[in-house]
Symmetry: C2
Subunit: 333 residues, 2 copies
């Protein structure tokens, strides 16, 4: 295992400490228990947004803490759900009196631990709602999931619901928009290589030199099938077909096209994938109204990418364009 | 070779096409010859900034085209200098009557081809100045360089000189600030793994499973030495010592601390490196006034990182903080 780390057991603590030092203008951290919170939290009268999950997917979630997006992010160990304790502490820390929304990727551990924390917060008089993201069309159930997995669509839910909260919407309204974004987002991933979890020390799976995994999960969980490596355009077409069928997306729709790197993919390759996806959507009469390309939800150093389509309406566009000031997503102020 | 590409010969063309589609609000491309240019270029009365070089270092340089940074970027083939022809065309395209600054990383091919283009532009009546960046303290001369290599400091030169041009400074002033940033920036890189150039098809070098290369170049050129892998903090200390000695940086200085990923490094590792660098600078009495952490100048999928320190003055801080709207760096408007 070749990694720029000190002690595998201290990877998350040291990384979060560095993150907080680098972005002290936007965030602060609590260390016992550990979570990342907006520098100015709690914001009185604003719905608080909390997300979290296993580490190793950075910039998700801590990179999205700040004005117009999340109020707090709770990092678990690498690829391991955070316990209820820090989720509860984060929920209390961002409660500005208007309630708190939990944004939870659909993995069994995350869902259970966020539910427990929500129950404890409710006992303390904080109104909590949860939206569970499940945008991955690759598999019905998975190694760690009953139902579909929550993947890159989560970033879009966090941005758009974050803007809704920032403009002063109520907890019901923010939760409703978060649900609407999740319901209109579909994703599919692929991998060329595995990744190595620091405390495991070995690659999470193996792939032959001429194979890729279609429908991979963000923890390296198996997807739909292993296929011989083929040209980028063929891979994109194979990923896009089930996405388009599923909602379905149809001619005349306006979408946000999100090409996400898994962590180790050169940017030139992401844009080659973007090019074909945009071209294919044009062939279907679907208008790409907004785009996002880069490493936004990763699997450590895995090479691969995911495609996400979000069917947009006017309100989603307005909230997507709204100012955001976080370490990883920043525009418009 | 496992890559998300179609034809190795079309990597740059297809990637730049995808880039232009994804960022049509900020940039457009010309294809014969190929370069990326600000959507609103030329800006009348503003000094134009042109950079470029071999592809494979994305987001450098095309990712920095936009308001407050570059006016054009000229991509060569992967790790290969662009020829004078597209550099000349880009220079003409951004000439708003106030002259054009070329920002050139110190590699023999880049320097020669930018000089040739500058001579041709001058013959057409365009005033051109050049700043050649050479911030890498690792080696005196290198495989592709007489003198020090230009590496991550180039990103800081482009941002700060870009802000100087954007506020209306003259060509002499913009060139002067670019030179000052370069003169006050020092960098050092390291790699855990090589990368594979698409048209070569094989890794650019080999490293044993327990080795890293200290002082690596951004094309995988050899650095200072190969060392047994050691903890992140020890690596950071080993990279920081020659940087601090070289300018020198001393107690009371204010700096920008830039931890740059080489392309395949997980973000958790970059922040672990940032943490130690910030701690070590505090031990030296050096104030970290600004930070940048992420993949800003890469070597395809190489795993590794570089450290850059820029000694700041008040004007540099003001120009660093000024609004910038590019695909890869965006804040404050």
């Amino acid at each position: 295992m070749k990694k720029i780390i000190n002690d595998p057991k201290r990877v998350v603590d040291e990384s979060v400490a560095g993150f907080a030092l680098a972005h002290a203008d936007l965030v602060r951290i609590e260390t016992d228990p550990i979570f990342v919170v907006r520098a100015d939290a709690p914001v009185a009268g604003k719905v608080g947004l909390v997300s979290g999950g296993g580490s190793g997917h950075e910039p998700l979630h801590a990179g999205y803490v700040g004005h117009g997006m999340l109020d707090a992010a709770v990092p678990g160990a690498v690829f391991t759900s955070p316990t209820p304790d820090p989720i509860l502490a984060a929920t209390k820390a961002v409660d500005g009196g208007a309630g708190v929304l939990h944004i939870v990727k659909n993995y069994t551990g995350d869902v259970l631990n966020f539910e427990t924390a929500a129950d404890l917060a409710a006992a303390d008089g904080i109104e909590v709602r949860a939206v569970v993201t499940n945008d991955d069309v690759a598999v019905k159930d998975s190694l760690y999931t009953a139902g579909r997995r929550g993947v890159a669509g989560t970033v879009l839910v966090e941005k758009i619901a974050g803007a809704s909260a920032q403009r002063g919407d109520t907890l019901d309204e923010v939760a409703g928009i978060a649900e609407r974004v999740n319901a209109n987002a579909r994703s599919m991933g692929m991998a060329l290589t595995p990744c190595t979890v620091p405390h495991a020390g070995e690659p999470s799976f193996t792939l032959a030199d001429d194979e890729y995994e279609l429908g991979i999960g963000i923890h390296g969980e198996p997807g739909r099938e292993r296929l011989p490596l083929e040209p980028a355009d063929a891979i994109v077409d194979r990923m896009l077909a089930p996405i388009l069928e599923d909602l379905p997306f149809s001619s005349g729709d306006r979408v946000l096209l999100f090409v996400n790197g898994m962590g180790g993919t050169p940017q030139v390759e992401l844009y080659i994938a973007y090019r074909r996806a945009a071209e294919a959507l044009a062939e279907h009469g679907i208008e790409v109204a907004r785009s996002l390309v880069g490493n936004y939800i990763t699997s450590l150093e895995m090479q691969g990418f995911s495609l996400t389509l979000l069917k947009l309406d006017d309100e989603m566009v307005e909230l997507w364009d709204a100012p955001v000031q976080t370490p990883a997503l920043r525009w418009g102020r």
